[in-house]
């Protein structure tokens, strides 16, 4: 069964005078995500991907169409907090989602809101901090951590609510390469080890290739979707929409263009070296 199901979702923002914008931020998107899937949502700023993210935990409700989370309609007000417990949302700026002055107290914030008994909160906080590899930092002040560490604490804060799915809205946009690696390996680990559904919104192609499925958005619509190698084989389409492709894929595409036979698009360095070796053999 689908864990998340978007059915022809349309949404437009309202301006200061409470008038709906003419242009839809999300313009008829249908998308199903299964339990345990790792989905990357790719696209430019303003393509509607962040708006989708906020639909997944009932922060926004569709103008038309509907969003089902584990069978519950997000527009059902009684289910709002159930849905937010099941689908945790991690935002871009790690600084602005840590609310307490001590790491472990921040992670406890979610479970505290849910009214969990103190002893169980303690267990959940320890579990969550260990899962993201930040347990040793539990008594530190957030502002002294690096960007990658802060973002991992933010993920732990969501994890402590024991969600079934984590949605991340450009979690790495403000991080340096090491911070990005930390966050991504944490996500992969949560997805594989703890079977948590991950929806990663990003504009970095090299992050998207790690996903089971890539969904590319443009102007509020889904442009294309499929496994990473399938999506990134469409080099011309992606370039036309000014999305870049990994350099390995670009090279393979050029070689294909002059008649070299390449079976599978190489998405990372290793695969590309292998492909070149085969071609040159």
């Amino acid at each position: 069964m689908n864990f998340i199901s978007l059915e022809n979702v349309v949404f437009s923002y309202t301006d200061d005078e409470n008038v709906k914008c003419e242009k839809n931020a999300v313009d008829g998107v249908s998308l199903d995500i299964k339990k345990g899937e790792f989905v990357a949502l790719l696209g430019h700023n303003g393509c509607g991907k962040s708006t989708i993210a906020k639909h997944l935990n009932a922060m926004l409700l569709p103008d038309s169409g509907r969003v089902l989370i584990d069978g519950d309609d997000t527009s059902d007000e009684e289910k709002t907090y159930d849905i937010r417990k099941k689908v945790g949302l991690v935002l871009q700026n790690p600084d602005n989602q840590l609310v307490a002055s001590i790491v472990e107290e921040d992670v406890a914030f979610g479970p505290e809101n849910l009214g969990i008994p103190p002893q169980e909160i303690r267990e959940r906080v320890d579990y969550a901090l260990k899962a993201v590899g930040m347990y040793e930092y539990r008594e530190h002040a957030p502002f002294k951590l690096s960007g990658g560490q802060k973002q991992r604490v933010a993920i732990a804060g969501i994890l402590a609510m024991l969600p079934e799915c984590i949605v991340l809205d450009e979690p790495t946009a403000m991080l340096d390469p090491n911070g990005r690696d930390e966050v991504l390996s944490t996500l992969l680990n949560l997805n594989k080890e703890k079977n948590i559904t991950v929806v990663l919104i990003t504009h970095y192609m090299d992050e998207a290739v790690l996903a089971d499925r890539v969904v590319v958005m443009d102007s509020g619509k889904i442009l294309t979707q499929g496994t990473p190698d399938k999506v990134f084989s469409q080099v011309e389409l992606l370039k036309k929409h000014r999305l870049d492709v990994p350099q390995s894929t670009e090279l393979a595409n050029k070689l294909r263009g002059c008649g070299v036979k390449i079976d599978k698009m190489p998405l990372d360095t290793e695969a590309c070296v292998k492909m070149l070796e085969e071609v040159l053999k």
């Binding site: 990994p246 350099q247 070299v260 070296v273």
Partner: protein, 289 residues
């Protein structure tokens, strides 16, 4: 060619004589020629931010000298503001410094501080707006009403408007999407071509650095570890990896190919270069024509 910036045994120590003492920059000497495009790389905490802030006198070195056009910038510390007009500095996320009522006034902030006449200021603002591709009608808008990318460009224009001899950009493309990064980087390259001044670009994106830099400064743990031509630096892929840096993906692919015994050149920087190297090998073997 003459050197525009020269660093002599430059060091900076944070919190000197306290338990938190930390040497952020340690004995860096180098010289940068007029008109060069320099890339600066190093992971977070390597000292690169401190280094660039010493170039325009925002941080006073603990030891050593910064020579701008042959003169020590701290010779007369009362005149340090004049140095900041000659060495422009764009910080990370510069859009957070916008404050004026209109974009025009904000860009004019620097030139006004320089004490220019109204006419000169007007010229400077319009030129800077043109360089950063801000449409004239945007100039009368509030900077807070611009889109993310426009805000970024307006903030950069605010520094370009001072017409600096040296322009330092600290991760100007951070947080932008691929298209925004691409556009902004090309604009900086265009500006460099037209203005022919010296540019120092700090970036985590090796692909960006490979595309634009003539030479690269590599910082690690407060030390200058490499300062050489871009191709030269990136052909030391393994050494860079050791200090936690990477090379552009395409450079790495070709490096590994070479290590496996294939005859490809060192320090390949772009996909096009890689493509021509591979296709010439293929041609040699008669696999393509």
């Amino acid at each position: 060619m003459s050197s525009v910036l020269e660093l002599k045994n430059l060091s900076f120590v944070y919190g000197q004589k306290t338990p938190f003492e930390k040497r952020a920059v340690d004995n860096v000497s180098l010289s940068i020629e007029k008109g060069e495009f320099i890339g600066i790389i190093g992971h977070t905490g390597s000292g690169k931010s401190t280094l660039v802030q010493m170039l325009n006198g925002l941080i006073q070195p603990t030891e050593g000298q910064v020579l701008l056009d042959g003169e020590d910038i701290w010779q007369n510390s009362k005149e340090i503001r004049k140095v900041r007009f000659k060495v422009g500095m764009v910080f990370q996320y510069p859009e957070y410094q916008l404050f004026e009522e209109t974009v025009y006034k904000d860009i004019a902030f620097g030139p006004t501080n320089m004490g220019k006449t109204e006419q000169e200021i007007d010229m400077a603002v319009r030129k800077a707006a043109e360089f950063t591709d801000l449409k004239p009608e945007l100039l009368q808008k509030s900077p807070f009403d611009l889109s993310g990318g426009e805000k970024r460009r307006a903030a950069i224009a605010g520094v370009i408007a001072m017409d600096p001899e040296v322009l330092v950009l600290d991760e100007p493309t951070a947080g932008l999407d691929p298209m925004g990064r691409d556009v902004l980087l090309s604009q900086i390259v265009q500006y460099h071509k037209k203005r022919k001044n010296t540019i120092l670009l700090v970036s985590h994106s090796m692909e960006d650095i490979a595309r634009v830099a003539d030479r690269i400064i590599v910082m690690n743990e407060s030390h200058l570890v490499m300062f050489d031509k871009t191709r030269e630096v990136f052909s030391h892929g393994r050494e860079l990896e050791k200090i936690g840096l990477r090379v552009p993906q395409i450079t790495k692919i070709m490096l590994e190919l070479k290590e496996k015994g294939y005859d490809v050149p060192d320090g390949i920087l772009t996909v096009d270069e890689a493509f021509s190297a591979v296709s010439s090998l293929l041609k040699k073997e008669g696999k393509i024509w």
